[in-house]
Amino acid sequence: MVDLGLKDKLSDEELVILTIEDQENFVYLINRYQDKLIRYIRRISGLGFEDAEDLLQEVFIKIYQNINNFDKDLKFSSWAYRIAHNEVIDNYRKKQARPQEMTYDSEQILNNIVADSDINKDIDHKYLQANISQVLNNLDLKYREVLILKFLEEKEYKEISDILKKPMGTIATLISRAKKQFLKELQEQEIKL
Protein backbone atom coordinates (compact mmCIF):
# COMPACT_ATOMS: atom_id res chain seq x y z
CA MET A 1 0.00 0.00 0.00
CA VAL A 2 1.41 3.38 -1.03
CA ASP A 3 1.23 6.20 1.49
CA LEU A 4 -1.49 8.74 0.62
CA GLY A 5 0.83 11.76 0.83
CA LEU A 6 3.33 9.98 -1.32
CA LYS A 7 0.78 9.36 -4.08
CA ASP A 8 0.59 13.05 -4.87
CA LYS A 9 4.27 12.94 -5.69
CA LEU A 10 4.01 9.95 -8.02
CA SER A 11 4.21 10.43 -11.77
CA ASP A 12 1.07 10.19 -13.89
CA GLU A 13 2.29 6.92 -15.33
CA GLU A 14 2.80 5.43 -11.87
CA LEU A 15 -0.69 6.56 -10.91
CA VAL A 16 -2.07 4.81 -14.00
CA ILE A 17 -0.51 1.54 -12.82
CA LEU A 18 -1.94 2.07 -9.33
CA THR A 19 -5.38 2.89 -10.79
CA ILE A 20 -5.37 -0.41 -12.71
CA GLU A 21 -4.69 -2.14 -9.40
CA ASP A 22 -7.20 -0.13 -7.37
CA GLN A 23 -9.97 2.10 -8.71
CA GLU A 24 -9.72 4.44 -5.71
CA ASN A 25 -6.33 5.69 -6.94
CA PHE A 26 -8.03 7.25 -9.95
CA VAL A 27 -8.97 10.17 -7.73
CA TYR A 28 -5.34 11.41 -7.84
CA LEU A 29 -5.43 11.60 -11.60
CA ILE A 30 -8.81 13.31 -11.50
CA ASN A 31 -7.56 15.91 -9.04
CA ARG A 32 -4.45 16.47 -11.07
CA TYR A 33 -6.23 16.98 -14.40
CA GLN A 34 -9.76 18.23 -13.79
CA ASP A 35 -8.92 21.94 -13.90
CA LYS A 36 -6.66 21.60 -16.95
CA LEU A 37 -9.15 19.48 -18.85
CA ILE A 38 -12.25 21.52 -18.08
CA ARG A 39 -10.39 24.66 -19.14
CA TYR A 40 -9.31 22.96 -22.36
CA ILE A 41 -12.81 21.62 -23.03
CA ARG A 42 -14.32 25.07 -22.52
CA ARG A 43 -11.67 26.72 -24.66
CA ILE A 44 -12.20 24.50 -27.68
CA SER A 45 -15.93 23.91 -27.33
CA GLY A 46 -17.13 27.19 -25.92
CA LEU A 47 -19.52 25.21 -23.72
CA GLY A 48 -20.93 26.71 -20.56
CA PHE A 49 -19.50 25.49 -17.30
CA GLU A 50 -22.20 22.96 -16.49
CA ASP A 51 -22.13 21.38 -19.93
CA ALA A 52 -18.35 21.34 -19.83
CA GLU A 53 -18.47 19.66 -16.45
CA ASP A 54 -20.78 16.95 -17.80
CA LEU A 55 -18.38 16.43 -20.68
CA LEU A 56 -15.45 16.34 -18.27
CA GLN A 57 -17.11 13.52 -16.37
CA GLU A 58 -17.55 11.63 -19.62
CA VAL A 59 -13.87 12.22 -20.39
CA PHE A 60 -12.74 10.78 -17.05
CA ILE A 61 -15.06 7.79 -17.43
CA LYS A 62 -13.55 7.18 -20.91
CA ILE A 63 -10.05 7.53 -19.48
CA TYR A 64 -10.87 4.96 -16.80
CA GLN A 65 -12.57 2.54 -19.19
CA ASN A 66 -9.60 2.69 -21.55
CA ILE A 67 -6.86 2.84 -18.95
CA ASN A 68 -5.48 -0.51 -20.13
CA ASN A 69 -4.93 1.05 -23.53
CA PHE A 70 -2.71 3.83 -22.21
CA ASP A 71 0.42 3.90 -24.32
CA LYS A 72 3.43 4.30 -22.06
CA ASP A 73 5.35 5.97 -24.91
CA LEU A 74 2.96 8.91 -24.57
CA LYS A 75 2.69 11.47 -21.82
CA PHE A 76 -0.44 10.78 -19.79
CA SER A 77 -1.45 14.42 -20.27
CA SER A 78 -1.32 14.03 -24.08
CA TRP A 79 -3.46 10.93 -23.85
CA ALA A 80 -5.97 12.63 -21.54
CA TYR A 81 -6.14 15.71 -23.77
CA ARG A 82 -6.66 13.42 -26.78
CA ILE A 83 -9.65 11.78 -25.12
CA ALA A 84 -11.02 15.21 -24.17
CA HIS A 85 -10.56 16.39 -27.77
CA ASN A 86 -12.41 13.32 -29.09
CA GLU A 87 -15.25 13.80 -26.62
CA VAL A 88 -15.64 17.44 -27.63
CA ILE A 89 -15.73 16.49 -31.31
CA ASP A 90 -18.27 13.70 -30.61
CA ASN A 91 -20.40 16.06 -28.56
CA TYR A 92 -20.15 18.71 -31.29
CA ARG A 93 -21.31 16.19 -33.91
CA LYS A 94 -24.12 14.83 -31.77
CA LYS A 95 -25.57 18.22 -30.95
CA GLN A 96 -24.64 19.88 -34.24
CA ALA A 97 -24.33 23.04 -32.22
CA ARG A 98 -22.00 25.88 -33.00
CA PRO A 99 -19.60 26.65 -30.19
CA GLN A 100 -20.81 29.42 -27.95
CA GLU A 101 -18.97 32.69 -27.55
CA MET A 102 -16.00 32.09 -25.32
CA THR A 103 -13.87 34.46 -23.30
CA TYR A 104 -10.16 34.01 -23.86
CA ASP A 105 -7.12 35.44 -22.22
CA SER A 106 -6.33 37.83 -25.05
CA GLU A 107 -3.03 39.02 -23.66
CA GLN A 108 -1.63 35.57 -23.20
CA ILE A 109 -2.63 34.28 -26.61
CA LEU A 110 -1.63 37.45 -28.40
CA ASN A 111 1.69 37.83 -26.62
CA ASN A 112 2.51 34.26 -27.48
CA ILE A 113 1.51 34.64 -31.12
CA VAL A 114 3.31 37.98 -31.39
CA ALA A 115 6.43 36.46 -29.86
CA ASP A 116 6.16 33.77 -32.49
CA SER A 117 5.57 36.15 -35.42
CA ASP A 118 7.21 39.15 -37.00
CA ILE A 119 4.51 41.67 -36.26
CA ASN A 120 4.48 44.98 -34.49
CA LYS A 121 4.10 44.56 -30.74
CA ASP A 122 2.43 47.95 -30.37
CA ILE A 123 -1.06 46.56 -30.25
CA ASP A 124 -4.31 48.20 -29.27
CA HIS A 125 -4.75 45.98 -26.21
CA LYS A 126 -8.03 47.44 -24.99
CA TYR A 127 -9.70 46.96 -28.32
CA LEU A 128 -8.16 43.54 -28.62
CA GLN A 129 -9.31 42.49 -25.17
CA ALA A 130 -12.84 43.32 -26.17
CA ASN A 131 -12.69 41.56 -29.53
CA ILE A 132 -10.30 38.64 -29.11
CA SER A 133 -13.10 36.17 -28.43
CA GLN A 134 -14.82 37.13 -31.64
CA VAL A 135 -11.54 36.79 -33.53
CA LEU A 136 -10.88 33.31 -32.17
CA ASN A 137 -14.48 32.19 -32.52
CA ASN A 138 -14.40 33.20 -36.18
CA LEU A 139 -11.55 30.76 -36.86
CA ASP A 140 -12.17 27.23 -38.09
CA LEU A 141 -12.24 24.71 -35.23
CA LYS A 142 -9.04 23.03 -36.47
CA TYR A 143 -7.18 26.36 -36.41
CA ARG A 144 -8.69 27.54 -33.12
CA GLU A 145 -7.73 24.26 -31.50
CA VAL A 146 -4.07 24.31 -32.53
CA LEU A 147 -3.76 27.95 -31.45
CA ILE A 148 -5.27 27.09 -28.06
CA LEU A 149 -3.00 24.07 -27.63
CA LYS A 150 0.10 25.96 -28.69
CA PHE A 151 -0.42 29.41 -27.23
CA LEU A 152 -2.80 28.90 -24.30
CA GLU A 153 -2.12 25.34 -23.18
CA GLU A 154 1.53 25.91 -24.20
CA LYS A 155 1.99 22.40 -25.54
CA GLU A 156 5.00 21.31 -27.55
CA TYR A 157 4.61 20.27 -31.21
CA LYS A 158 5.05 16.62 -30.29
CA GLU A 159 2.36 16.83 -27.63
CA ILE A 160 -0.05 18.53 -30.04
CA SER A 161 0.75 15.82 -32.58
CA ASP A 162 -0.06 13.14 -29.97
CA ILE A 163 -3.26 14.89 -28.87
CA LEU A 164 -4.68 15.51 -32.34
CA LYS A 165 -3.18 12.32 -33.83
CA LYS A 166 -1.65 14.16 -36.76
CA PRO A 167 1.96 14.08 -38.01
CA MET A 168 4.29 16.79 -36.63
CA GLY A 169 4.67 18.31 -40.10
CA THR A 170 0.90 18.68 -40.39
CA ILE A 171 0.78 20.34 -36.95
CA ALA A 172 3.46 22.84 -38.02
CA THR A 173 1.48 23.64 -41.17
CA LEU A 174 -1.78 23.97 -39.21
CA ILE A 175 -0.19 26.33 -36.68
CA SER A 176 1.34 28.44 -39.43
CA ARG A 177 -2.00 28.69 -41.26
CA ALA A 178 -3.86 29.32 -38.02
CA LYS A 179 -1.54 32.22 -37.16
CA LYS A 180 -2.06 33.71 -40.61
CA GLN A 181 -5.82 33.35 -40.32
CA PHE A 182 -5.73 34.80 -36.80
CA LEU A 183 -3.73 37.86 -37.90
CA LYS A 184 -5.91 38.30 -40.98
CA GLU A 185 -8.96 38.13 -38.77
CA LEU A 186 -7.43 40.77 -36.48
CA GLN A 187 -6.84 43.06 -39.45
CA GLU A 188 -10.39 42.54 -40.66
CA GLN A 189 -11.59 43.56 -37.19
CA GLU A 190 -9.37 46.66 -37.68
CA ILE A 191 -7.30 45.94 -34.64
CA LYS A 192 -4.13 48.00 -34.91
CA LEU A 193 -1.09 45.78 -35.37
Partner: protein, 272 residues
Amino acid sequence: MNMKYMLKDKISNGMSEKNISQEILDKIKDVKPRPRWQFLLKDYLIWFLASLALLISSLSFAVILYMLVDNDWDIYASISNSLLEFIFLTLPYFWLIFLGIFIIIAYYNFRHTKKGYKFSLGKIFLLSLLVNIFLGTFLYTIGVGEIIDNIVARRMPFYEQLINKRRHIWADIDNGFLGGIVMSIDNRAITLQDIEGNIWLIEHFNTTTPGFANLQVGDPIRIIGQKIDSQNFEMYTILPMRGMHWMEDDHLPPPPPAMMDERKFLQMRNNR
Protein backbone atom coordinates in the same frame (compact mmCIF):
# COMPACT_ATOMS: atom_id res chain seq x y z
CA MET B 1 1.89 32.93 -15.74
CA ASN B 2 -0.57 35.64 -16.70
CA MET B 3 -3.80 33.64 -16.42
CA LYS B 4 -6.83 35.84 -16.79
CA TYR B 5 -8.91 32.93 -17.83
CA MET B 6 -10.64 31.99 -14.62
CA LEU B 7 -13.20 29.43 -13.72
CA LYS B 8 -15.29 32.01 -11.95
CA ASP B 9 -18.48 30.17 -12.66
CA LYS B 10 -16.93 27.11 -11.09
CA ILE B 11 -16.74 28.96 -7.82
CA SER B 12 -20.18 30.45 -8.29
CA ASN B 13 -21.57 26.99 -8.86
CA GLY B 14 -20.04 25.97 -5.59
CA MET B 15 -18.30 23.03 -7.13
CA SER B 16 -15.33 21.71 -5.28
CA GLU B 17 -12.66 19.35 -6.48
CA LYS B 18 -13.90 16.83 -4.00
CA ASN B 19 -17.39 16.94 -5.48
CA ILE B 20 -16.39 16.26 -9.06
CA SER B 21 -13.87 13.60 -8.03
CA GLN B 22 -16.48 11.90 -5.91
CA GLU B 23 -19.11 12.17 -8.63
CA ILE B 24 -16.78 10.52 -11.13
CA LEU B 25 -15.75 7.82 -8.65
CA ASP B 26 -19.41 7.13 -7.95
CA LYS B 27 -20.11 6.83 -11.66
CA ILE B 28 -17.25 4.45 -12.31
CA LYS B 29 -17.92 2.33 -9.26
CA ASP B 30 -19.57 -0.36 -11.35
CA VAL B 31 -17.46 0.29 -14.45
CA LYS B 32 -14.66 -2.09 -15.25
CA PRO B 33 -11.78 -1.00 -17.46
CA ARG B 34 -11.81 -2.82 -20.77
CA PRO B 35 -9.32 -5.68 -20.57
CA ARG B 36 -5.95 -5.20 -22.21
CA TRP B 37 -6.36 -8.20 -24.51
CA GLN B 38 -9.23 -6.40 -26.33
CA PHE B 39 -6.97 -3.48 -27.22
CA LEU B 40 -4.15 -5.83 -28.21
CA LEU B 41 -6.52 -7.87 -30.38
CA LYS B 42 -7.71 -4.71 -32.12
CA ASP B 43 -4.09 -3.58 -32.71
CA TYR B 44 -3.08 -6.97 -34.09
CA LEU B 45 -6.17 -7.06 -36.32
CA ILE B 46 -5.35 -3.64 -37.78
CA TRP B 47 -1.73 -4.68 -38.38
CA PHE B 48 -2.91 -7.93 -39.96
CA LEU B 49 -5.29 -6.08 -42.31
CA ALA B 50 -2.60 -3.54 -43.22
CA SER B 51 -0.12 -6.36 -43.96
CA LEU B 52 -2.70 -8.33 -45.93
CA ALA B 53 -3.55 -5.27 -48.04
CA LEU B 54 0.17 -4.72 -48.64
CA LEU B 55 0.60 -8.37 -49.68
CA ILE B 56 -2.37 -8.18 -52.09
CA SER B 57 -1.06 -4.92 -53.59
CA SER B 58 2.36 -6.57 -54.01
CA LEU B 59 0.69 -9.49 -55.81
CA SER B 60 -0.98 -6.95 -58.11
CA PHE B 61 2.39 -5.34 -58.69
CA ALA B 62 3.83 -8.76 -59.65
CA VAL B 63 1.06 -9.26 -62.25
CA ILE B 64 1.55 -5.72 -63.62
CA LEU B 65 5.27 -6.36 -63.94
CA TYR B 66 4.61 -9.68 -65.68
CA MET B 67 2.16 -8.10 -68.11
CA LEU B 68 4.46 -5.17 -68.83
CA VAL B 69 7.59 -7.23 -69.33
CA ASP B 70 5.80 -9.78 -71.50
CA ASN B 71 4.12 -7.18 -73.65
CA ASP B 72 4.53 -6.89 -77.43
CA TRP B 73 7.28 -4.27 -77.19
CA ASP B 74 9.16 -5.96 -80.04
CA ILE B 75 6.39 -5.26 -82.55
CA TYR B 76 4.54 -2.30 -81.05
CA ALA B 77 4.90 -0.39 -84.33
CA SER B 78 2.87 -3.05 -86.14
CA ILE B 79 0.11 -2.92 -83.55
CA SER B 80 -0.32 0.82 -83.06
CA ASN B 81 0.71 4.13 -84.57
CA SER B 82 3.02 5.22 -81.77
CA LEU B 83 4.68 3.94 -78.62
CA LEU B 84 2.40 6.14 -76.53
CA GLU B 85 -0.71 4.75 -78.18
CA PHE B 86 0.62 1.24 -77.67
CA ILE B 87 1.24 1.90 -73.97
CA PHE B 88 -2.28 3.29 -73.50
CA LEU B 89 -3.70 0.33 -75.41
CA THR B 90 -1.97 -2.36 -73.39
CA LEU B 91 -1.55 -0.87 -69.88
CA PRO B 92 -2.96 -3.31 -67.31
CA TYR B 93 -5.56 -0.87 -66.01
CA PHE B 94 -7.47 -3.43 -64.00
CA TRP B 95 -4.39 -4.40 -62.00
CA LEU B 96 -3.29 -0.78 -61.63
CA ILE B 97 -6.69 0.09 -60.11
CA PHE B 98 -6.49 -3.03 -57.94
CA LEU B 99 -3.00 -1.97 -56.79
CA GLY B 100 -4.26 1.54 -56.00
CA ILE B 101 -7.26 0.29 -54.02
CA PHE B 102 -5.14 -1.99 -51.86
CA ILE B 103 -2.49 0.67 -51.27
CA ILE B 104 -5.31 2.90 -49.97
CA ILE B 105 -6.62 0.06 -47.77
CA ALA B 106 -3.08 -0.55 -46.46
CA TYR B 107 -2.70 3.19 -45.77
CA TYR B 108 -6.05 3.37 -43.98
CA ASN B 109 -5.19 0.46 -41.71
CA PHE B 110 -1.62 1.58 -41.07
CA ARG B 111 -2.90 5.08 -40.21
CA HIS B 112 -5.13 3.46 -37.55
CA THR B 113 -2.34 1.58 -35.83
CA LYS B 114 -1.22 3.06 -32.52
CA LYS B 115 1.65 5.05 -33.98
CA GLY B 116 0.34 5.39 -37.52
CA TYR B 117 -0.63 9.03 -37.07
CA LYS B 118 3.01 10.01 -36.67
CA PHE B 119 3.66 9.36 -40.35
CA SER B 120 2.52 11.65 -43.12
CA LEU B 121 0.42 10.48 -46.05
CA GLY B 122 3.44 10.83 -48.37
CA LYS B 123 5.71 8.75 -46.14
CA ILE B 124 3.17 5.94 -45.77
CA PHE B 125 2.52 5.87 -49.54
CA LEU B 126 6.24 5.89 -50.27
CA LEU B 127 6.80 3.06 -47.81
CA SER B 128 3.91 1.06 -49.31
CA LEU B 129 5.27 1.64 -52.79
CA LEU B 130 8.76 0.48 -51.77
CA VAL B 131 7.31 -2.69 -50.20
CA ASN B 132 5.25 -3.24 -53.37
CA ILE B 133 8.30 -2.78 -55.60
CA PHE B 134 10.58 -5.13 -53.62
CA LEU B 135 8.01 -7.78 -52.67
CA GLY B 136 6.21 -7.50 -56.03
CA THR B 137 9.46 -7.91 -57.98
CA PHE B 138 10.37 -10.92 -55.87
CA LEU B 139 6.93 -12.47 -56.45
CA TYR B 140 7.25 -11.77 -60.18
CA THR B 141 10.70 -13.38 -60.25
CA ILE B 142 9.40 -16.61 -58.71
CA GLY B 143 6.55 -16.69 -61.25
CA VAL B 144 3.63 -15.63 -59.05
CA GLY B 145 2.60 -12.87 -61.50
CA GLU B 146 2.22 -15.42 -64.29
CA ILE B 147 0.30 -17.86 -62.08
CA ILE B 148 -2.22 -15.17 -61.08
CA ASP B 149 -2.64 -14.06 -64.71
CA ASN B 150 -3.27 -17.68 -65.72
CA ILE B 151 -5.80 -18.30 -62.96
CA VAL B 152 -7.70 -15.07 -63.58
CA ALA B 153 -7.67 -15.61 -67.36
CA ARG B 154 -9.36 -18.97 -66.95
CA ARG B 155 -11.93 -17.86 -64.40
CA MET B 156 -12.92 -14.35 -65.49
CA PRO B 157 -15.38 -14.34 -68.38
CA PHE B 158 -14.62 -10.73 -69.33
CA TYR B 159 -10.88 -11.13 -69.06
CA GLU B 160 -9.93 -9.83 -72.51
CA GLN B 161 -12.18 -6.78 -72.36
CA LEU B 162 -11.42 -5.91 -68.77
CA ILE B 163 -7.98 -7.14 -67.83
CA ASN B 164 -5.77 -8.28 -70.69
CA LYS B 165 -6.39 -6.59 -74.00
CA ARG B 166 -3.57 -8.50 -75.62
CA ARG B 167 -5.88 -11.46 -75.99
CA HIS B 168 -8.11 -9.25 -78.11
CA ILE B 169 -5.15 -8.04 -80.17
CA TRP B 170 -4.00 -11.59 -81.03
CA ALA B 171 -7.50 -12.72 -81.90
CA ASP B 172 -7.87 -9.90 -84.45
CA ILE B 173 -7.29 -12.20 -87.42
CA ASP B 174 -9.12 -9.98 -89.93
CA ASN B 175 -6.45 -7.36 -89.35
CA GLY B 176 -3.60 -9.84 -89.66
CA PHE B 177 -2.87 -10.71 -86.00
CA LEU B 178 -3.02 -14.40 -85.23
CA GLY B 179 -1.95 -15.86 -81.92
CA GLY B 180 -2.17 -19.49 -80.99
CA ILE B 181 -0.56 -22.85 -80.32
CA VAL B 182 1.37 -24.82 -82.93
CA MET B 183 -0.45 -28.09 -83.56
CA SER B 184 1.78 -29.55 -86.27
CA ILE B 185 4.72 -28.64 -88.43
CA ASP B 186 5.79 -30.03 -91.74
CA ASN B 187 8.07 -28.81 -94.47
CA ARG B 188 5.27 -26.96 -96.25
CA ALA B 189 2.89 -25.66 -93.62
CA ILE B 190 2.13 -25.36 -89.95
CA THR B 191 -1.25 -25.81 -88.36
CA LEU B 192 -2.21 -23.57 -85.52
CA GLN B 193 -5.05 -23.48 -83.05
CA ASP B 194 -5.95 -19.86 -82.33
CA ILE B 195 -7.11 -18.30 -79.06
CA GLU B 196 -10.74 -18.99 -79.93
CA GLY B 197 -9.96 -22.63 -80.72
CA ASN B 198 -10.13 -22.42 -84.56
CA ILE B 199 -7.61 -24.34 -86.65
CA TRP B 200 -5.53 -22.51 -89.28
CA LEU B 201 -3.27 -23.73 -92.01
CA ILE B 202 -0.29 -21.48 -92.54
CA GLU B 203 1.92 -22.19 -95.47
CA HIS B 204 5.48 -21.07 -95.07
CA PHE B 205 8.08 -20.54 -97.70
CA ASN B 206 10.83 -18.99 -95.68
CA THR B 207 12.04 -21.12 -92.82
CA THR B 208 14.92 -18.75 -92.14
CA THR B 209 12.58 -16.44 -90.20
CA PRO B 210 14.26 -15.91 -86.81
CA GLY B 211 12.92 -18.38 -84.30
CA PHE B 212 11.27 -20.51 -86.92
CA ALA B 213 14.02 -23.12 -86.99
CA ASN B 214 13.44 -23.90 -83.31
CA LEU B 215 9.66 -23.99 -83.60
CA GLN B 216 8.09 -26.99 -81.93
CA VAL B 217 4.63 -28.44 -81.61
CA GLY B 218 2.90 -26.96 -78.56
CA ASP B 219 4.71 -23.61 -78.77
CA PRO B 220 2.55 -20.51 -78.34
CA ILE B 221 3.30 -18.13 -81.20
CA ARG B 222 2.33 -14.76 -82.68
CA ILE B 223 1.95 -14.42 -86.42
CA ILE B 224 1.53 -11.20 -88.32
CA GLY B 225 0.26 -11.70 -91.83
CA GLN B 226 -2.93 -11.75 -93.81
CA LYS B 227 -6.06 -13.80 -93.62
CA ILE B 228 -6.63 -15.57 -96.92
CA ASP B 229 -9.89 -17.30 -96.08
CA SER B 230 -11.55 -18.85 -93.06
CA GLN B 231 -8.93 -21.62 -92.90
CA ASN B 232 -5.77 -20.22 -94.43
CA PHE B 233 -3.48 -17.49 -93.26
CA GLU B 234 -0.49 -15.99 -95.01
CA MET B 235 2.47 -15.47 -92.72
CA TYR B 236 4.74 -12.41 -92.86
CA THR B 237 6.30 -12.56 -89.40
CA ILE B 238 6.38 -15.32 -86.82
CA LEU B 239 7.40 -14.69 -83.23
CA PRO B 240 7.20 -16.63 -79.99
CA MET B 241 4.26 -15.57 -77.84
CA ARG B 242 5.09 -13.36 -74.87
CA GLY B 243 2.99 -13.86 -71.77
CA MET B 244 -0.54 -15.25 -72.05
CA HIS B 245 0.70 -18.66 -70.95
CA TRP B 246 -2.83 -19.67 -70.04
CA MET B 247 -3.25 -20.45 -73.78
CA GLU B 248 -0.91 -23.40 -73.46
CA ASP B 249 -3.06 -25.11 -70.84
CA ASP B 250 -6.32 -24.21 -72.55
CA HIS B 251 -5.29 -25.54 -75.95
CA LEU B 252 -3.10 -28.47 -75.28
CA PRO B 253 -2.33 -29.94 -78.67
CA PRO B 254 -2.74 -33.63 -79.38
CA PRO B 255 0.43 -35.70 -79.38
CA PRO B 256 2.36 -34.48 -82.42
CA PRO B 257 2.49 -36.80 -85.43
CA ALA B 258 5.78 -36.94 -87.22
CA MET B 259 4.20 -35.48 -90.30
CA MET B 260 0.67 -34.30 -90.93
CA ASP B 261 -0.66 -34.17 -94.43
CA GLU B 262 -3.41 -31.90 -95.63
CA ARG B 263 -6.02 -34.68 -95.58
CA LYS B 264 -5.42 -35.32 -91.90
CA PHE B 265 -5.52 -31.61 -91.19
CA LEU B 266 -8.91 -31.27 -92.91
CA GLN B 267 -10.21 -34.29 -91.06
CA MET B 268 -9.05 -32.82 -87.73
CA ARG B 269 -10.72 -29.51 -88.47
CA ASN B 270 -13.95 -31.16 -89.59
CA ASN B 271 -14.05 -33.12 -86.37
CA ARG B 272 -14.04 -29.93 -84.28
